[in-house]
Symmetry: C2
Subunit: 432 residues, 2 copies
C-alpha cells in the first residue's frame, strides 16, 4: 500500500524532502565489461558482433547476416495482427504530424552595422536507434525514437534490435518501416552500441544514438558519448496525478497503475485535496490490481514507491509539482490551465479528466521519451531538435568590420591573445 | 612547421583519415580525486569549500565570506581600463541582440480530432556558470555563457570563479554584471561544481552548469550530470580556413594563429587550391610568430597539429570539411555562400575575406562556446535553448478520446501493459 502524506502534518516538509531524495535507480557497475566489449568491437568489428550475438542471443549472424533483409522484414510483418498494424499506422501518423511542427527555422539577417548574422539547422547524417529485445521491445518506442529522426531529415536511420534465438518481433519491424528506419541489424547489448558508434565492416558508424536499454546499453552509451551524441539515460518511469474529488476513483487508480506496471521501481504519486477521494483511489487500486496480468510488478511499485499526498487546496500544488519535476503530470481537475500556468518542471502534461497518460504513450503525438528522476528541471522530451544541429554564421563587410573590429582588438589584447587582435587589425589597417 | 597534404597524392585518403583519427585530448585520470572532493562538498558543505579554497587558492573565504559583495565588485570594476569596459559593453549588447532571436515559441493547437496539443518552453530556475581562474579567465567567456541564460529568463545566474591569493579579475566581474549574473562566489575547481550541483549552506543548488575548466572541472561536470544538466565538455580549439589564392597570406596566417595561440594542442588547418599561396601563408605564419607574445604556444600547436591541404578545386572542399566537422570554419573566398550551402558539419562559419574568426570570439553576436573534436556532426554552440526546457501537453475531450483511444488500447494490449489499456478503456466505456 502506498504511503499517505498530509500537508497539514508538522513533519510534512521533512517527509516530502525524503520523497524527493529517494533514489530508485538500481545501477549495476558494468563499466569494465562494457569497456571490454567496446574495445572488441573496435578491434575485431563484425567478427566480435557475430561472436557476442552467438553467445548472448544464441543466434548465428555469421549464417544469417547481420542485416535484416527485406524478405525477413516482409515475412515478419505478414504475421502481425491487422488491428495492431492499423493502430501502429494511426499512431505513426499522429506522432509524425506533431513532430513536423517542431522543425526549426533558419535565422539570417543583416544588423545595423551591415554585419550578416544567423544560424542554420541541418539534420545529423546518420542516427542509430537501439531497441531492446524481449519484453521491453516496445513498437511504440520505435515510433517515438525513429519518427523525430525521419522528420528531421536524417538520411540513415539505423536500428539495432537483438533477435534472441532468431525470433523477430513483427510489431517492432512494422513500426520501424512506418517510422522511416532505413537499416535494421539483429544485434543488441553494448556490442550494438559499439557498432553504431565506431562502425564495423557491415555497419557504418552513426552520429547520434538514442533509445532505451538495460544497464549494459546505458553504460555503453555513456562510454561512447563524445564519439557520437546520445539522448539522456532514462531512469525508472514516474507519474504524478493531481485530482480533485470530482474524479472517478477507478479512472485515477488506473492512471497510477499505468506507470506502476512498467517497473517495480517506477513511481506513482497522487496529489488531491480530498482525503476521502484518496482513500477511494487506494481502494480502486487494490480492485484493479487483482485483475491485471501485470499485478506483481505494479503492486511492488505501488507498495514500495507509491504516495498519496493530501493538500488543503490544490492551488498550492504547483510548488510541490515543480520540486518533484515529474516525467508525466496529469491535471485531472475542472480548470487544468490555471494550475498548468504555474508549472515550470514537467516532461509531459495531460490536461483534464479525459486525458489519461497512456494516450501520450501511444497516439497523442508528442514524444513519450521524457526526462525522469527530476531531470525535467533542465530537459524535455525527445524531439526533432535532438536529430539536428545548429551552425551559426557571420559575414562582415569591410565597413562593418570597421564598426565592430576595434572592440574585438581591445578585448583580445586584454585577454592576452595577440594573434586574435592581429587577425582583425590587419584587415582594418588595409583600409587606411 | 605544419604538414602539407596534397589531394592529388596517392596516399591522400590515408593521410586524411589519419588526420581525422588524431587525438589531441590529454585526459588526465582525476576521477577518484574529483569523486572525493564532491563527496566532501555533499557532507561538509561550506566547511569543505573554505578548506579546499584555502588549500588550492591560498585564500581564506572563512574570513571574506564565499560571496563577492557588491562593494568587492564595485572596487574591482573601478580598476578596469575604460576602453576595455566599453568594449565589453559593446560585445554584451551584440551578444544579447543575437541571442534574443533564439527565443523559441510556444506551440498550442487543436487537431482535427479535437485533441489539443502543444509544447511550452520555460527557463531553468537556476543556472551555474563556472569561470576558471588565472590566465584562462576570459571575460568574453563570461558574456558568452551568462547572456544566453539571462536572455532565457533564468532567475538565478550563479557564477563561481576562483580568486587565487584573493585577487579579483576586474574584467571578469564587469562582464558578469553586464551579462546579468545575479550571484558570484569566489570558489573554483571540482569543489565549485559540487557546490553548484548539490548546494551548501551558502550556495543554493542550480539546475544546469555551464562553462569551461581544467580536467578536474570537466570530470566534476561529468560526475554531477544527471543531478543537474551540463553543457558539453570542451576539447582543444580548432579552426579550418578555406582560402583561395586571392587572399592576403598575412591575414590568413593570422587567422590560423588565432586558434593556435589558445593551446599547444589546438589545431589550425588551411585548405587552398593554390600551392604557392599555401607556401606564402606558411611563410607569413613564421613572420607573425616571431612578433607574438603567444609565440611558444602558437608554434607548438602549428608545428605539431597544423596542416595545409592543397586541393585541385575548392568546390571539392565540402566533403573534407564535413568529415572534419570543425569548430570554426572560415570561407575566405569570393562567393562563400556557394560552398556554405554544402556544409553540414561546422560549429560556426565565417563568410568572406573580411570575417576573421576572432570577430566571433568577441563581438559578432553568435556564441563562441562551440562543439570541438568533430562534435559539430551532432551538436551546435551554446544557446538560449540550453537554458530552457520543453514541456509537451495534451488535452483530450470525451469525443477526441473516442477517436484516438481505441488505437492506444490495442497497442497497450499488444505490448502487455493492461493498466495502460484500462486507463483509456474506462473513460471510453463511460460514454456507452
Amino acid at each position: 500500500m502506498a504511503r499517505r502524506l498530509d500537508a497539514k502534518a508538522d513533519d510534512f516538509e521533512t517527509q516530502f524532502a525524503d520523497l524527493l531524495a529517494e533514489r530508485r535507480d538500481t545501477t549495476a557497475d558494468v563499466a569494465d565489461s562494457v569497456s571490454e566489449i567496446l574495445s572488441r568491437i573496435r578491434t575485431e568489428g563484425d567478427r566480435a558482433l557475430h561472436d557476442l550475438t552467438h553467445r548472448f542471443d544464441r543466434f548465428d549472424t555469421g549464417q544469417s547476416g547481420l542485416a535484416l533483409s527485406s524478405a525477413d522484414i516482409a515475412a515478419a510483418e505478414g504475421t502481425l495482427d491487422s488491428k495492431v498494424r492499423e493502430a501502429l499506422a494511426q499512431a505513426a501518423d499522429r506522432i509524425r504530424a506533431f513532430h513536423t511542427r517542431q522543425q526549426p527555422d533558419t535565422l539570417d539577417y543583416v544588423d545595423d552595422t551591415g554585419t550578416r548574422l544567423g544560424q542554420r539547422w541541418r539534420p545529423v547524417d546518420a542516427a542509430g536507434l537501439y531497441v531492446p529485445g524481449g519484453r521491453a521491445s516496445y513498437p511504440s518506442s520505435v515510433l517515438m525514437n525513429a519518427i523525430p529522426a525521419s522528420v528531421a531529415g536524417v538520411e540513415r536511420v539505423v536500428m539495432t534490435v537483438p533477435t534472441p534465438d532468431g525470433v523477430i518481433n513483427p510489431a517492432v519491424v512494422t513500426a520501424a518501416r512506418l517510422a522511416g528506419v532505413t537499416e535494421i541489424y539483429r544485434v543488441g547489448g553494448a556490442q550494438a552500441v559499439g557498432a553504431l558508434a565506431f562502425g564495423t565492416e557491415t555497419i557504418r558508424p552513426v552520429d547520434m544514438i538514442v533509445g532505451p536499454g538495460n544497464a549494459y546499453v546505458a553504460e555503453a552509451k555513456r562510454q561512447v558519448f563524445g564519439t557520437v551524441g546520445i539522448d539522456t539515460i532514462a531512469g525508472p518511469s514516474e507519474i504524478l496525478v493531481v485530482a480533485d474529488g470530482a474524479n472517478d476513483p477507478a479512472w485515477i487508480a488506473a492512471d497510477l497503475l499505468s506507470q506502476a506496471e512498467h517497473d517495480p521501481v517506477a513511481q506513482s504519486i497522487l496529489i488531491t485535496d480530498d482525503p476521502a477521494f484518496a482513500t477511494a483511489v487506494e481502494a480502486a487500486v487494490e480492485t484493479h490490481l487483482s485483475t491485471l496480468s501485470s499485478e506483481a510488478v505494479a503492486r511492488a511499485s505501488w507498495d514500495d514507491f507509491g504516495y498519496s499526498i493530501v493538500l488543503p487546496d490544490l492551488r498550492d500544488a504547483a510548488d510541490l509539482i515543480n520540486r518533484l519535476a515529474p516525467e508525466h503530470l496529469e491535471l485531472a481537475v475542472a480548470q487544468p490551465d490555471d494550475l498548468f500556468a504555474d508549472i515550470r518542471n514537467a516532461g509531459a502534461v495531460f490536461l483534464g479528466r479525459h486525458t489519461p497518460e497512456a494516450i501520450g504513450d501511444y497516439v497523442a503525438g508528442p514524444n513519450h521519451v521524457l526526462p525522469t528522476g527530476r531531470a525535467a528541471r533542465f530537459s524535455g522530451g525527445l524531439s526533432v531538435y535532438d536529430f539536428m544541429k545548429r551552425t551559426s554564421f557571420v559575414a562582415c563587410t569591410s565597413d562593418s568590420l570597421q564598426a565592430i573590429g576595434p572592440a574585438a582588438i581591445t578585448l583580445a589584447r586584454a585577454e592576452g591573445l595577440p594573434a586574435h587582435a592581429l587577425s582583425v587589425a590587419l584587415r582594418l589597417e588595409d583600409r587606411e
